[in-house]
């Protein structure tokens, strides 16, 4: 009891602490530290007197070198901390900013596509306008609003109808050439157009170069047009332009139908000619309706 009380006595603890501090400060117990301290002091003393080859005191050079290292380390730590803090602060708003940017990119992509579509559309309209200005026949611009659900029937629907003066068997053209003809019945604000590549379609045609005549019909093949009734004696070569002859009374004469791709001597009297259409039917959007009734329609018209 008495021993424990004596150990807990503040005076005893103070005395112990004091003796511990004295022990720590007693250089006689710390020979290595003393030796090191004395040596370092003398090294510094020598360094202060000796000059390097460049004339700078060794102490100054070493001090500057050491201090520069310390400065470098300090600067690295400070910059690292600043960068880490900056990155952290920047990261805090990064998610929201990222989301906003993603939305903006999506909006811009949509707008870009719209602009691109508008540009293409305007080019198409410009081409159509040029065609219209060049056309010697009255035309009416129309927009393809639908295709045909039956893939066998190659027809499209346009946004012009009887209210606009569209009649059956009117020719429909595009900047690339002849598209087809209007087939009945014609609705008030819509009409169906049979494409020239439909297997039931046909048009009087001739070679623009040699004026060799024949008939272009649709075919379930690639290319989807075939020129028939062309004599083996006729001069038709690949690459020749095939234009409407106007003999059918529907398609205006001289308008391009397509270009000869393959021509062979057939087994009979006629050549076998395949024609690549001038119109890209896969991207048909705007067309011109030739507002001239066909010869047959005009004959039937009581006026």
């Amino acid at each position: 009891m008495g021993g424990a009380g004596c150990a807990n006595n503040p005076d005893t603890r103070l005395a112990r602490r004091t003796s511990r501090v004295e022990l720590m400060l007693d250089i006689r117990k710390r020979t290595g530290y003393l030796f090191l301290a004395v040596m370092v002091a003398q090294v510094l003393l020598v360094s202060a007197q000796v000059q390097t080859k460049s004339g700078v005191k060794v102490l100054q050079a070493v001090t500057f070198e050491l201090f520069s290292r310390v400065q470098f380390a300090t600067a690295s730590v400070v910059n690292g901390g600043r960068n880490a803090w900056g990155n952290y602060v920047a990261l805090r708003g990064m998610r929201a900013e990222n989301e906003g940017l993603k939305r903006r990119v999506a909006d811009l992509e949509v707008k870009l596509q719209q602009e691109h579509a508008l540009a293409v559309h305007s080019q198409q309209l410009q081409a159509l306008l040029e065609l219209k200005s060049q056309a010697t026949v009255p035309t009416l611009a129309a927009v393809v609003i639908a295709g045909n659900p039956d893939p066998v029937m190659r027809t499209v629907t346009i946004d012009r109808g009887s209210a606009d003066g569209v009649l059956a068997d009117m020719a429909v053209i595009a900047p690339g050439g002849i598209v087809g003809r209007v087939i009945g019945p014609v609705a008030r604000h819509a009409a169906r157009v049979q494409l020239i590549i439909d297997r039931n379609a046909a048009a009087g045609a001739l070679s623009e170069r040699t004026r060799a005549g024949g008939m272009v019909v649709g075919a379930e093949a690639n290319p989807p047009l075939r020129m028939e009734l062309v004599s083996n004696l006729a001069d038709v070569k690949a690459g020749d332009s095939i234009v409407a002859s106007g003999i059918d009374g529907i398609y205006p004469k001289g308008y391009l139908i397509g270009r000869v791709e393959i021509t062979d001597r057939g087994s009979g009297l006629y050549r076998t000619i395949t024609v690549r259409p001038g119109v890209d039917f896969s991207s048909l959007e705007e067309v011109l309706v030739v507002m001239v009734p066909s010869t047959g329609a005009r004959a039937e018209d009581p006026k």
Binding site: R28, T31, F35, V38, M39, Q42, L45, V46, Q49
Partner: protein
């Protein structure tokens, strides 16, 4: 008391060294009394005293020699530390080990002193081994003599005094 002894020993050795270096300058016999005093103090009092005495003696010697202050100090600090540690680890109370210690300390001191001067001062390493050997022998003789004088001197004086006393009693 010990501090006073150390300072006094270093001072006396320095005075004697500077006094003797005049007549012995250029001669074949050389002695480093500061080094002798240092080894003596380190063997007697330990490494701490050796370090402090080495630093004190070496720096003073450097300052008086108008060379680079610190080279002798570093050398003698190392010698004092090493001798003090060795004296604490081994029994160096007899004459022969002390002789060896003085010889070794002299050689190590000279090699380090010349080496540091060559490194820092830029002068060529010019240690003359024969002169160093002679110096080592002289240092060891002086050092061992000093030990004998200090350790056995009082006893001999007492014996002599006692001998004189008995002679007087016989006589009268």
């Amino acid at each position: 008391m010990k501090t006073a002894i150390v300072v006094l020993a270093i001072a006396v050795s320095l005075v004697l060294q500077t006094t003797l270096s005049g007549p012995m300058a250029g001669g074949p016999i050389a002695v480093n009394l500061v080094l002798v005093a240092l080894v003596y103090l380190a063997l007697t009092y330990g490494a701490v005293t050796g370090i402090l005495a080495g630093a004190l003696g070496g720096l003073t010697q450097d300052a008086l020699s108008f060379g680079i202050v610190g080279i002798g100090g570093m050398t003698k600090t190392i010698i004092g530390f090493a001798v003090g540690v060795l004296g604490a680890q081994f029994n160096l109370t007899s004459t022969v080990p002390r002789l060896v210690m003085f010889v070794a300390a002299t050689f190590v001191h000279e090699v380090m002193f010349e080496g540091l001067h060559a490194m820092i001062g830029g002068r060529p390493f010019g240690l003359q081994w024969s002169a160093t050997l002679i110096q080592a022998l002289v240092n060891s003789l002086v050092g061992v003599t000093a030990f004998m004088l200090v350790e056995r001197g009082p006893e001999a004086m007492q014996r002599r005094r006692m001998h004189r006393g008995s002679f007087s009693r016989k006589r009268f």
